[in-house]
């Protein structure tokens, strides 16, 4: 009898609380332990829930606590996991609380949807800016490749793998792709001979984080915050200068994502040979024809080759940085777009379940009131 009255008080008190909650989100009406669990699930600051429990929900909290402890551990554990499942397995008094859980989830999902939509817009506008720059820069490296050809499988003792990645995350899988390709190149170098060694130069925070996990000793140099200012040729020149001074190499492999379209990014490996390797030449391909070229300019052929190699590195690096930046913006656009879509789907489902539980609750209250009134009439 007393339990029935307390349950009745709980339900009516809860109804009032829910009405008020709809107008002003002051009292959550949940116990502090439950509030603690809720906070993990609903991305709320935990102080807010416990504060409201202090204000008005303490009475309800004690009742809830009693009900929770009496139920099995399985139900309480699963109840704390998903707010929606609470309806089916929770004890009687906690029905009101599940509504609140769903409301909180809806709020957080709505804010996530707004944020991801905004991030998509920002990425789209940045992409427009960088894309025209990238397309204009594509002419810069073509003469070098037309002259020297492409020699990715060059037989060089010391190789540098320059991995270009982004500084910020939430951009899909392009950084993992670059890192995977760099690691495969490293394996290829190791497999090609015992005296061949390769090391990394990482540009970008994300690539560095991923490569540091298992190849920390192989990273010779890393560069971050390349995108704080717009990328221009002087930046590429400065980077190329740094690489050439600090690290000795026979060949450089540049791993980047080429921007083909907003949904398609092609991992590319560009190869730049050091002046010594160029001078050594090779029997086949474009490089073999280099001997037939006259060299004008500096006094010796070697000096011209040195300048050529440096200029090539700067040009290819400039183009690679721009292409990777474009790919990053495009990938971020599609990632945030998917995220916003998922959030809106989730919001729809949550809204439906929330409305269902709210209506069921109202129906139950009405039935109780009516049956109570009918019982009174029958007895009188």
């Amino acid at each position: 009898m007393s339990s029935r009255r307390s349950a009745h008080a709980l339900s009516s008190g809860a109804q009032v609380a829910t009405e008020e909650n709809r107008r002003s989100d002051q009292r959550l009406g949940v116990g502090p332990e439950v509030a603690g669990h809720l906070c993990e699930n609903c991305i709320l600051p935990s102080g807010m829930a416990s504060g409201s429990a202090r204000r008005g929900g303490a009475r309800l909290a004690n009742l809830l606590h009693g009900y929770l402890n009496s139920s099995s551990t399985a139900t309480s554990a699963s109840w704390s996991q998903t707010g929606i499942a609470a309806r089916e397995i929770a004890p009687f008094g906690a029905r009101m609380a599940s509504n609140q859980i769903v409301r909180n989830r809806m709020k957080s999902v709505r804010s996530i949807q707004k944020i991801t939509k905004a991030m998509k817009m920002v990425a789209a506008s940045k992409l427009r800016g960088v894309q025209s720059k990238t397309e204009d820069s594509r002419g810069l490296w073509q003469p070098f490749t037309a002259l020297l050809g492409d020699s990715p499988g060059v037989d060089a003792k010391k190789k540098i793998i320059v991995t270009i990645s982004s500084d910020k995350g939430l951009c899909g899988g392009i950084n993992s792709t670059s890192v995977k390709f760099s690691k495969a190149l490293m394996r290829l170098t190791a497999a090609s001979g015992p005296d061949k060694q390769a090391s990394y130069v990482v540009i970008g925070e994300k690539g560095k984080a991923q490569l540091q996990r298992d190849s920390k000793k192989n990273i010779r140099m890393f560069v971050t915050e390349t995108q704080k200012l717009p990328i221009n040729f002087s930046l590429a020149c400065a980077l190329a200068d740094e690489i050439m001074q600090k690290v000795e190499f026979d060949a450089i492999h540049l791993v980047y994502n080429k921007f083909q379209s907003v949904v398609s990014f092609l991992p590319t490996v560009a190869t730049i040979l050091s002046p010594e390797t160029l001078a050594a030449g090779s029997e086949e391909g474009k490089l073999g024809e280099l001997d037939s070229y006259e060299f004008e300019g500096s006094e010796t052929r070697a000096a011209v080759l040195q300048n050529l190699s440096e200029f090539q590195l700067a040009s290819v690096l400039y183009n690679a940085l721009l292409e990777n930046s474009c790919s990053e913006m495009g990938a971020r656009m599609s990632a945030m777009d998917n995220s916003a879509k998922n959030a809106s789907d989730m919001l729809e489902k949550l809204t439906l379940s929330y409305n269902r539980s709210r209506q069921a609750q109202i129906t139950t209250e009405l039935i109780e009131i009516i049956s109570g009134a009918a019982a009174l009439e029958a007895s009188s």
Partner: protein, 210 residues
Amino acid sequence: MLSGSRQALRVGLRAWGRPTAGAIQRSFASEATAPAAEDEQSNEFLKQWASVAPNLDKPRLPSSYMKARPPAPATIPSKLTVNLALPHRFEVADKEVDMIIIPATSGQMGVLPGHVPTVVELKPGLLSIHEGDDVQKMFVSGGFAFIQKNSFADLVVVEAVPLEQIDAEEVKKGLAHYSQLVNTASSDLEKAQAQIGLEVHSAMSVALGA
């Protein structure tokens, strides 16, 4: 056999409609999987790649992003095809001209169709492109020029401005400024910078005067 005909189709289409400078090269969907590796070494590399990383896609090579260049013709062609590339712009793309005069470090050099294949270092100076009676003059900064066997001239420079856009007054001021800096420069770096400025400005004044 099928891939051979596809290759021929691809090369044929490439020679047909050369897209405008800077346009995105869109390949057919069937080509999207296999990157075009035109020489033995690249094929060898891709095979090794497949053995080391069988689950990864093959990487693309930059040569697959370029238009194919025609091979060296038997007779000397009548026109020279010029490409002038800047970091921020494709200035001249596949333009067929009669002659160009480029500012090599060893002096002005004229290039006609059928020139010996050469790799030239460029210093800041005047570049002129002659097509018939039409002469286009530009002031270019340092860079490189490759004269290929098939009468293609590729120029890669950091900056190029049409001569009309250079202000003679500014050039004189710069000349005075940098010659003063050369005398007062203290460290090697400053001296080098001042000398570079002086060279560029004197080249500009020579180009304007010529």
